[in-house]
């Protein structure tokens, strides 16, 4: 038993040496054969690595934008289509909730000192928003809870608005007409870089007014969409269930009256999407691998025919059929493994270049490398099987007669 294991090992070692010399002896043909596998593996590695790099970039930017927040959107019931200020106060007082910024936005015509701009994004903000984004106000003051309570006609303008209407002069104290209503400018803010998930979908705002005022201008007193900031050390699922417990009685336990979207669920969706994309692209690329495998099979079949005499001779010298089969299997295995390893290197290089061009992060995925190498090795064995079997079954006399 031990002896047969040892002799098998000796045999396989010799086969590897012989395969290398055979592959090397047919450099051009081997290279062309390997090319198919190489292209396939390169494509698989480059696509998977790039897609996973892009998806991790997207996910990380999403996470940094919406860390610790939960979005709630209210569909409402027939009796009650949104939340009142008191409802929001109730929610704010929850232990799991640190604060709430309602999302109230409108598009308005803005007039100031003779200039008119239409379709300006105006956002209603709560005082809590400025508590979160302390650095956003560069001149003047923030909107506070008094403005909120009184629905005051005060506003903050963005740097862009300042350059449009005030020619870079400090605008604090000036009067601005939003849809014909005069507002006093109380401050100036820089473009917000992080205002939660909502801003990604609604675009950037150029004017901030108290959200209560914004509601009034929309002829409504109810908030239908807001972002909840979680208390420290609370998970998004804890917040969700606390919010559900508070929201349900507000809508008399009617179903489908609101939707709570956590970052987790958005991340899940993103991951599913990019995962599907990677699978799809990987699947397309692996067609190239199959084509490469057929190339290897073709070359091995040719090789077997060419080396009929060698096979017959080896059989005459005492080679068993399985030894012949193993020799040819190892040869096709080595061929595609060479292609696979070269493909992994090339694929990683390609995706490094791609990630530089796209500007995504370059993540070396161990799974993709294992897949590339493993798949190519499997292709080698799978497509080498039939030619190797053919070789092993060759009748030694027929083989020798052809000499």
């Amino acid at each position: 038993m031990l002896k047969s294991i040892r002799s098998t090992f000796i045999m396989i070692h010799e086969c590897i040496t012989m395969s290398i010399s055979n592959i090397w002896g047919n450099k051009v043909r081997s290279f062309l054969t390997v090319l198919g596998i190489l292209i396939g593996v390169t494509a698989v590695i480059a696509l998977i690595t790039t897609v996973s790099g892009v998806s991790s970039s997207i996910t990380s930017s999403f996470t940094s934008l919406g860390a610790g927040t939960v979005s709630v959107s209210i569909t409402g019931s027939d009796l009650k289509s949104g939340l009142t200020r008191d409802d929001l106060k109730t929610l704010t007082e929850l232990r799991e909730v640190d604060g709430i910024t309602p999302t109230v936005s409108l598009r308005a015509q803005v007039t100031c000192s003779g200039e008119t701009e239409s379709n300006v994004n105006v956002s209603g903000k709560s005082s809590y928003y400025f508590h979160l984004n302390e650095d956003i106000v560069t001149h003047g003051r923030e909107l506070n809870f008094i403005d909120e309570d009184n629905s005051s006609f005060v506003c903050l303008v963005s740097d862009e608005m300042v350059s449009t209407f005030f020619f870079a002069v400090n605008p604090v104290g000036a009067t601005l007409y939003i849809n014909g209503t005069p507002f006093t400018v109380v401050g100036r803010f820089k473009e917000d870089s992080s205002s939660g998930i909502a801003s990604i979908f609604s675009g950037k705002s150029n004017i901030f007014i108290p959200y209560t005022t914004a509601l009034k201008m929309n002829n409504s007193s109810l908030v239908t969409s807001f972002t909840v900031y979680m208390s420290e050390g609370v998970t998004s699922s804890q917040v969700s269930s606390a919010l559900e417990a508070a929201l349900d009685p507000m809508f008399s336990y009617e179903e489908d009256t609101y939707t709570i979207t956590t970052m987790d669920s958005i991340e899940d969706t993103m991951e599913t999407m990019t995962g599907m994309m990677a699978t799809l692209l990987g699947g397309i690329a692996s067609i190239a691998l199959v084509v490469g495998g057929i190339g290897i099979m073709n070359m091995m079949l040719t090789t077997v025919t060419e080396r009929t005499v060698e096979i017959g001779l080896k059989k005459a010298l005492g080679a068993k059929p399985w030894q012949i089969q193993v020799q040819f299997l190892i040869e096709s295995f080595m061929l595609s493994l060479i292609g696979g390893i070269a493909g992994v290197i090339l694929g990683l290089l390609l995706s490094l270049i791609l990630s530089e061009v796209i500007g995504s992060t370059f993540v070396v995925s161990g799974g993709a490398i294992a897949l590339g190498v493993g798949f190519s090795a499997a292709v080698g064995i799978l497509f080498g099987w039939a030619p190797a079997r053919k070789a092993s079954r060759l009748n030694p006399i027929d083989a020798l007669r052809s000499m």
Binding site: K3, S4, R6, S7, T8, I10, M11, E14, S21, N22, G25, V309, E310, L313, K314, K315, A316, L317, G318, A319, K320, P321, W322, Q323, P396, I397, L400, M403
Partner: protein, 242 residues
């Protein structure tokens, strides 16, 4: 005389090589052609026998059967006490590896391997360790007078040298019988004679040799000659009656 008597007694207890009523048929299209017809042949250990016959007489088929490359259609073939026709292809390979050394007309060396690697080949399939393999192959190449050609490739060797490498390869596994198919067929007369001298020294060491040839002069080197014509084997009796 003493030696012959010894062989004789061994033969009676143990059939070293015995063929009885061997037939081999090939299907040629619709027709069955009988290549070998009731061949009976026995060889004693240490004998030097040649099978003489024109081409197409079935002598190559006979050699293939003797060499366990092929099995007879009917009849009995016993080699070293084993009934060959009952063996699987794996067992046949095993038997070839241990008992038989082949020498072909065109030496049939693998062109990509050096002389020593060619000689090592049978030992690889027998599972011999690399060091031991190298030692035995070197010794065998020295034995056939090629000590200074170990690392030459076949195309760097003359026809006679190639045939010597092939002989070394056939002998390296220490087989009980050496099978040679037209061993001098591709060589000039002088080189052929040298090879025949080598065969004689190999036989002097006690190795059994069976040589197949169409050349009476070559066959004459053997101690016993049998004739094969149209698949029928006849004992030729003496030698040199050409």
């Amino acid at each position: 005389m003493d030696k012959a008597a010894e062989v004789e007694t061994e033969m009676s207890t143990n059939h070293f090589f015995h063929m009885q009523n061997i037939c081999k048929d090939y299907l040629m299209g619709e027709e069955v052609s009988h290549i070998l017809k009731n061949v009976n042949l026995s060889i004693k250990e240490g004998e030097y026998l040649s099978v003489l016959g024109p081409s197409g007489s079935g002598k190559s088929t006979l050699m293939n059967i003797i060499g366990c490359l092929d099995v007879p259609t009917s009849g009995n073939y016993i080699l070293q006490g084993r009934t060959v026709e009952d063996l699987t292809s794996g067992e046949l390979a095993d038997l070839r590896s241990r008992e038989i050394g082949f020498i072909f007309q065109n030496s049939q060396l693998l062109p990509r391997l050096t002389a020593i690697r060619n000689v090592e080949l049978p030992l690889i399939y027998a599972g011999v360790r690399p060091k031991e393999r190298r030692r035995r192959a070197t010794a065998m190449l020295e034995r056939v007078g090629l000590a200074d050609r170990l690392y030459h490739y076949p195309n760097q060797l003359s026809g006679g040298q190639q045939q010597r490498v092939a002989i070394a390869r056939a002998l390296v596994g220490n087989p009980s019988i050496l099978l040679a198919d037209e061993p001098t067929g591709a060589l000039d007369q002088k080189t052929g004679k040298q090879i025949m001298e080598l065969f004689q020294t190999i036989n002097d060491d006690g190795r059994t040799i069976l040589m197949i040839t169409h050349d009476m002069n070559i066959a004459a080197h053997a101690h016993r000659v049998v004739h094969i014509i149209d698949g029928v084997l006849t004992e030729g009796g003496g030698t040199g009656d050409a």
